[in-house]
């Protein structure tokens, strides 16, 4: 009997641990206990992912994990490499920090008797994101996509106000549109290739493209799947759902939604590019150009819409749409460097936007819950940590050196060298979008630091929130300064994908 390789069990254990946590949470009657258990589980998953990352990085290898007694084309499989492990680590880190920083909001915004149910959602959402990262099977991806949809809708509506429920409905309809397209895409794909596991599909796709059979169905399938996932990740024409969903939700929900949920779909998209359809096929069908175009439009339109807002959460929501545009632009460049930059931007944006939403929540809570920038004047003096966090986050979004946002923009710009025909327009749009970012982040930063005389009653910000924001700030600078090893990891991860 061979010895058990525990490192290889980590993906499976992390998914099942979060699911297990989600399932037992309804039995706990107290919200606080549920919160603690949830936090501990996320931390454990984070530590396990770190161990996995170190191991796969050292050995420069990726592996597949058999779910059950049957090998590849028959049973389900998980797959893990440096990219997956890095993403899982980031996700659990951001998740843990958001929960730490946003604990107060959950207690305040959600009815006490329903708080434990909120943590069921958080746990299952986290589990489904991990499953989307690790899965090696497209039908599993579909099932977990649906879990993700329902759970993310649930965390939006958890606040229970009419506005939040209307926003949830809007979000749900658009998400269901996306999953419908994805579902018909995978059924068509199954009928052509006869497989559901990614490596097997890839093999048969390579064979079929050689013989030239089913050329038209392939184009349709790829279109459906990529469009379906892109809709769910709020690419340009569908970014409107963000605008209503983020402001209506409680701050940790918006953080998770913008920082992690959308990213998990983008990672699925990258996996589809590399593990299912080959990147050459994608490029030859010019799918990358379409994504590139929508990414560029999204960058500009998102920023312009953000500029028109006077309410801070709406502004952040549109800014997320613009940042998703950056990521799709990176994917659309169609070269290795662009992909690396996009992956780094996923990390940078996950860390930054989660912090921004928590800080915005913190600033609002010391300004009598109003979210208009006018009312937030002087809020930074009342809640110092949130003010600093918001400023750092804003600078990172603009792309000031030493922050995470700068590195990703640098890599985007340098990635254009490998696709010269897109170079000018990319650089131009990057410059325009940076200026636009500065135009809406800097006034709001000035507004929150402007001192005001009037004394308002407000509660002191909690220690937990300050710690959470502090860790986020450190992370942001860490990503902005020590980016080299992370870029190496991503490069290795994409090569092994």
């Amino acid at each position: 009997m061979e010895s058990v390789n525990y490192i290889h069990n980590i993906p499976f254990i992390s998914i099942f641990l979060t699911m297990f946590g989600g399932i037992i949470t309804p039995l706990l009657s107290k919200g606080k206990l549920a919160q603690k258990i949830n936090f501990i589980i996320v931390c454990i998953v984070g530590i396990l992912s770190a161990v996995l990352l170190v191991s796969v990085w050292k050995n420069e290898q990726s592996f597949t994990f058999m779910m059950g007694h049957f090998p590849a084309p028959w049973g389900n499989e998980l797959r893990a490499g440096p990219l997956e492990a890095l993403m899982a680590l980031t996700f659990s880190f951001v998740m843990a920090n958001t929960l730490l920083g946003g604990a107060k909001f959950v207690q305040k915004d959600i009815l006490p008797e329903k708080q434990n149910l909120y943590f069921v959602m958080i746990n299952l959402l986290f589990g489904s994101m991990l499953a989307l990262i690790y899965t090696n099977d497209i039908f599993t991806a579909y099932v977990f996509l649906e879990i993700n949809t329902i759970a993310s809708c649930a965390i939006i509506m958890a606040k229970g106000t009419g506005e939040s429920i209307a926003a949830t409905l809007h979000y749900l309809i658009i998400c269901l549109l996306g999953s419908g397209l994805f579902l018909i895409g995978i059924s068509l794909l199954y009928s052509i290739t006869g497989h559901l596991l990614m490596p097997n599909i890839q093999q048969s796709i390579i064979q079929l493209t050689k013989t030239g059979e089913y050329a038209f169905p392939f184009a349709v399938v790829i279109g459906m799947i990529i469009i379906g996932i892109s809709i769910k990740s709020a690419v340009f024409p569908f970014h409107f759902m963000l605008a209503s969903a983020h402001p209506a939700a409680t701050p940790p929900s918006s953080s998770i939604l913008s920082g992690l949920v959308l990213k998990s779909f983008i990672i699925l998209n990258i996996k589809m590019f590399y593990c299912v359809f080959t990147i050459d096929l994608i490029r030859s069908l010019r799918i990358t150009n379409v994504l590139f175009l929508f990414g560029l439009i999204g960058m500009v339109v998102g920023s312009v819409s953000a500029l028109k807002e006077t309410r801070i959460k709406h502004m952040l929501a549109y800014s997320s749409a613009a940042q998703i545009g950056y990521i799709y632009m990176g994917l659309g460049l169609g070269n290795h460097a662009g992909m690396v930059a996009a992956c780094f931007h996923i990390l940078a944006h996950a860390a930054t936007k989660a912090m921004l939403f928590i800080c915005a929540g913190g600033l609002m809570s010391v300004s009598q819950g109003s979210d208009s920038i006018h009312d937030l004047r002087g809020a930074a003096h009342r809640n110092l940590m949130a003010g600093i966090g918001f400023t750092v986050g804003g600078l990172s979004m603009v792309g000031v050196p030493l922050t995470a946002g700068f590195v990703s923009k640098l890599y985007f710009a340098s990635a254009t060298i490998y696709s010269p025909q897109k170079m000018v327009i990319t650089l131009l749009t990057l410059a325009v979008s940076m200026i636009l970012n500065a135009m809406y982040f800097i006034p709001s930063a000035i507004a929150i630091w402007t001192p005001v005389e009037k004394k308002e009653e407000y509660t002191k910000p909690s220690r937990k929130m300050e710690i959470g924001i502090g860790i986020f700030i450190v992370t942001n600078f860490f990503l902005g300064i020590c980016y080299k090893p992370i870029i190496d990891m991503i490069e290795l991860g994409i090569r092994l994908l």
């Binding site: 007694h69 909120y118 106000t161 006869g194 920038i373």
Partner: protein, 303 residues
């Protein structure tokens, strides 16, 4: 006069820097109480003015969908033939499922063997979706201070009175006769899931339908005597946990090539199929509870 109303460009700029104003949206925001009647009027005006826009949107939608159907139909013509035995889908995967399925899973219903043994991770996800949905419905519809008004509570009390007086004897007799039969049939479908068509989900749905019938005829108070919210949550959680642990064990042993101690039994007997029978029972219980839960929450807002 004009000068007072119109701010200078510099003033605009200062306001913008102060965060009082945004580019392209110079109006001030006022916080008023919502006046629904006014909203209704506004909305009607909006619709009236937006008629043209709506028609344009409709035409565009129809156009997009027709193109969509056209593309898909064209795709269908290029797909492998319907009913052919040499389709790409009938490959080594199907061969192993059919030829070794009975031996490897112990279930004579190959579909059940496939979803609960070969591809069990998907099915685990599926049960979680159901669990998630019921938790969401509880979050939305279980009574709290946001979703009940006094008038509703009064109406409900009247309903309860009405229910007590209501004595539709024929309906009650027949429903009470039919409900046990439904339970029996549901249990049969669940228990025979691995040797005949059906399984946890369809059987559970039938049992759930039985509960719904019983509750809708006899009133929910009668159900509440033995089926409360606590019991509902406990059954759901415990069944799903059993599922999670059993499947976790099976995945763990399978992936690490450890020996599996669960006996397969003789194929075709009731006690066969290894884990499939207990899993089917768990799924059946979850589904039955969930469906009754949906019914109760949709009608009364409590279980």
């Amino acid at each position: 006069m004009n000068k007072q109303n119109k701010k200078s460009k510099w003033q605009h700029f200062v306001d913008w820097v102060n965060g009082e104003e945004a580019i392209g949206m110079p109006k001030k925001i006022s916080f008023k109480k919502i006046d629904f009647e006014k909203l209704q009027e506004d909305f009607e005006k909006y619709i009236w003015s937006g008629r043209k826009k709506a028609i344009f949107y409709m035409v565009m939608c129809v156009f997009v969908c027709l193109t969509f159907i056209g593309i898909l139909l064209h795709t269908v013509t290029a797909l492998p033939y319907f009913g052919g035995s040499n389709n790409p889908a009938s490959n080594e995967v199907v061969q192993r499922y059919i030829e070794n399925g009975v031996e490897e899973t112990g279930a004579t219903n190959i579909v059940a063997g496939m979803i609960l043994d070969y591809r069990a991770f998907d099915t685990f996800g599926e049960s979680n979706v159901l669990f998630l949905a019921v938790i969401c419905v509880i979050m939305l519809l279980k009574k709290d201070k946001y979703n009940t008004t006094e008038q509703e509570q009064r109406e409900e009390k009247e309903d309860e009175m009405f229910e007590k007086e209501d004595s539709n004897t024929i309906l009650k007799r027949i429903a009470n006769l039919l409900a046990p039969l439904l339970f029996l049939f549901g249990i049969y479908v669940v228990l025979n899931g691995h040797i005949s068509p059906g399984g946890g989900f369809s059987g559970g749905a039938i049992i759930g339908a039985g509960f719904v019938l019983y509750a809708s005829v006899n009133g929910q108070q009668k159900m509440q005597r033995f089926f409360t919210y606590k019991i509902f949550v406990r059954i759901n959680v415990i069944c799903l946990l059993t599922y999670c642990i059993l499947k976790g064990y099976s995945f763990f042993t399978g992936a690490n090539h450890l020996p599996n101690i669960i006996p397969k039994g003789t194929a075709g007997a009731l006690l066969s199929g290894g884990l499939i029978l207990p899993l089917n029972i768990c799924v059946g219980m979850i589904v039955a509870c969930t469906i009754y839960g949906f019914y109760a929450l949709f009608t009364k807002g409590e279980i």
